[in-house]
């Protein structure tokens, strides 16, 4: 459960979000939409406390993030950034095992229960056969899954992902979004991911949060589709937006009469 209260953040002098109140529940998959540069990443990074230049409060599972230690934070929230991470010399199992860091001792030694959690995280993401593979020999999509498995091993009730579908091809995008929905519904996690894929957001997510000129509209997917907000924000001349089918399609015009 992630809650924003009177949340205002900017980039430099420009205010991106102002006086936002929003709440994201457990068991719910939320797509964070918005045009480029409107503050999607900035908002996610602020929730993860990677950016603290905001006013207002962010609470995670009832606790103000400003009062939490790094470890307490890491036990409540996991984050998958846009960075392409490929660490040579570590196996997938090593990488996912690093997600246990908030629970392990000074050396990071994994106990049998940790190994079980790592194996389960690899299984949930469909990467169980890659446990002993090194990341340098894997595709972007596979590395992305391993980084998500690492976030799952962190065993948090909340999960943020910044544009997780951007390196993936079409089938992989849907597969990943379906995986996120399963994790939200089956494990009761609160998951927010930023994306530009309107169709994925409309077909797979439970709620949509839309950044619109300093405001954040957060509605159940169906209500968002009906609200007219998406059309207003994403429709451009020559393209038509169908909120029910959910994708942008070219309008067939018969200009030649």
């Amino acid at each position: 459960m992630i809650t924003l209260r009177d949340f205002t953040i900017g980039f430099g002098r420009r205010e991106l979000l102002s006086h936002v109140d929003a709440s994201f529940s457990d068991g719910c998959l939320t797509a964070l939409l918005g045009r480029n540069g409107t503050g999607k990443s900035t908002m996610l990074r602020a929730i993860a406390r990677l950016n603290t230049a905001y006013t207002g409060t962010v609470t995670i599972d009832g606790a103000d993030t400003a009062t939490l230690s790094g470890i307490e934070m890491a036990r409540r929230l996991a984050f998958v950034t846009t960075e392409r991470t490929r660490i040579p010399g570590l196996t997938c199992a090593d990488v996912v095992g690093m997600g246990r860091a908030p629970y392990t001792g000074w050396s990071g030694h994994l106990h049998p229960t940790d190994h079980a959690i790592v194996a389960e995280a690899l299984r949930s993401t469909g990467m169980q056969d890659y446990a002993e593979r090194y990341m340098q020999s894997m595709s972007d999509g596979e590395c992305q899954r391993v980084m998500i498995a690492r976030a799952l091993a962190q065993d948090t009730a909340n999960l943020l992902l910044d544009e997780p579908t951007s390196f993936l091809d079409m089938p992989n995008r849907y597969q990943l979004a379906t995986l996120l929905r399963r994790l939200a519904h089956d494990r009761g996690k609160c998951i927010i991911f930023s994306t530009h894929e309107l169709d994925i957001a409309l077909h797979i997510c439970d709620t949509i949060a839309l950044v619109d000129n300093g405001r954040l509209h957060h509605l159940p997917t169906r209500d968002m589709a009906d609200s007219g907000l998406l059309q207003r924000l994403f429709a451009i001349e020559g393209l038509d937006f169908d909120p029910l089918r959910g994708f942008l399609k070219t309008e067939v015009r018969s200009d030649f009469g």
């Binding site: 993860a48 406390r49 990677l50 790094g70 470890i71 934070m73 890491a74 036990r75 929230l77 996991a78 984050f79 950034t81 960075e83 991470t85 660490i87 040579p88 010399g89 570590l90 090593d94 690093m98 997600g99 860091a101 908030p102 392990t104 000074w106 050396s107 990071g108 002993e132 090194y134 340098q136 020999s137 962190q154």
Partner: protein
């Protein structure tokens, strides 16, 4: 890196045993080789207080043993320090000196050897010796860098700052060199060539505990170092306290590289090359493997360098460079 083979723990253990044995053999060889080549039996007798000429015992215990211990310490310290900097800056070409430790030490020594005579004082009347001057110089630079690190979030900015500080300090050293007399200049240039042989057995009582303290700190930071492989942001989301970890890693590197530079001068390439050799040999980026691996490979390689430098009577820095440069070239070529 293109490692696809599976490195099981048994294979790693075997490799550790093999390199440890190699270190022991090289240590023995280092004791035998010198101006006078001694047979192993005499060296052994000298070490154990057995039957051997008094001069031999003096050479082995008073000179060669001290120098071999210094070689082991310097190899281990510079290697681990280089590993820490490569991980902290996420840069395979970082080494123990990226924070400006060697240039700080260089400035200390330059002020001591070159600056003091310019002001009319004899260098040696100041009382704290070259090592003390080097220590003060590198400590001053590190305090500056630590203050900057506490304020700067961006690790790249810190890297640039370290490089600029080094260049600025080098410029001051050049001015001092330009103004200095021949004998002072020669003493300074010889210091910059590095030497494992200037350390006395009394100084060993400072050097060894300082390096061991640095290594203990390095071992204590294996988990932060492993998390930093993911970059600082990911590391923070996994619970890393960035400021505390940076401070501990800086302290460790100061103890390791600062101490060695103070006593031996700036020894190049070991700190840059050894972590890569350890990664290649052990097929891992896990610091729980890499720290002991770098200690052993660093010690072994500096012992080899010392044997070569004694056999051909050459400065140690020339040897470490000639052995280290191919490794650096190999890193650059392999990354393409």
């Amino acid at each position: 890196m293109n490692i696809s083979s599976h490195w099981n723990p048994a294979r790693r253990t075997l490799l550790f045993i093999f390199i440890s044995a190699a270190c022991l053999l090289l240590f023995a060889l280092d004791l035998c080789v010198g101006d006078v080549n001694l047979p192993l039996r005499q060296v052994w007798n000298a070490l154990t207080g057995g039957d051997c000429p008094r001069a031999t015992a003096a050479i082995v215990l008073g000179i060669r043993l001290v120098k071999a211990i210094v070689a082991v310490m310097a190899g281990a310290a510079l290697g681990v320090s280089g590993l820490q900097m490569q991980t902290l800056f996420r840069n395979p070409l970082a080494g123990p000196y990226v924070l400006g430790i060697s240039s700080g030490a260089g400035l200390g020594v330059a002020l001591f050897l070159l600056g003091a005579p310019l002001l009319g004082a004899s260098a040696w009347s100041l009382g704290f010796g070259i090592a003390g001057a080097a220590w003060i110089g590198s400590a001053a630079v590190l305090v500056l860098m630590a203050v900057a690190a506490a304020r700067l979030r961006d690790i790249l900015a810190l890297l640039v700052l370290g490089m600029m500080l080094s260049s600025g300090v080098s410029a001051v050293v050049q001015i001092l060199q330009y103004l200095s007399k021949d004998d002072a200049l020669k003493a300074y240039v010889i210091w910059t060539m590095g030497s494992l042989g200037e350390v006395t057995s009394d100084q060993l009582l400072i050097l060894v505990p300082a390096v061991i303290a640095g290594l203990v700190l390095a071992v204590a930071t294996v988990k932060p170092l492993n998390l930093l492989l993911f970059g600082e942001e990911y590391a923070r989301t996994m619970g890393l306290n960035l400021r505390k970890s940076r401070a501990l890693i800086f302290a460790s590197t100061t103890l390791l590289a600062g101490t060695i530079t103070a006593y031996c001068g700036p020894i190049g390439f070991i700190g840059l090359a050894m972590p890569h050799v350890a990664r290649m040999l052990f097929g891992s980026s896990d610091h729980r493997v890499l720290i002991p691996a770098t200690v052993l490979t660093g010690a072994a390689v500096l012992l080899i360098c010392d044997v070569i430098s004694k056999a051909f009577v050459l400065p140690i820095n020339a040897i470490t460079a000639l052995l280290g440069i191919p490794v650096v070239v190999w890193i650059v070529l392999r990354r393409r």
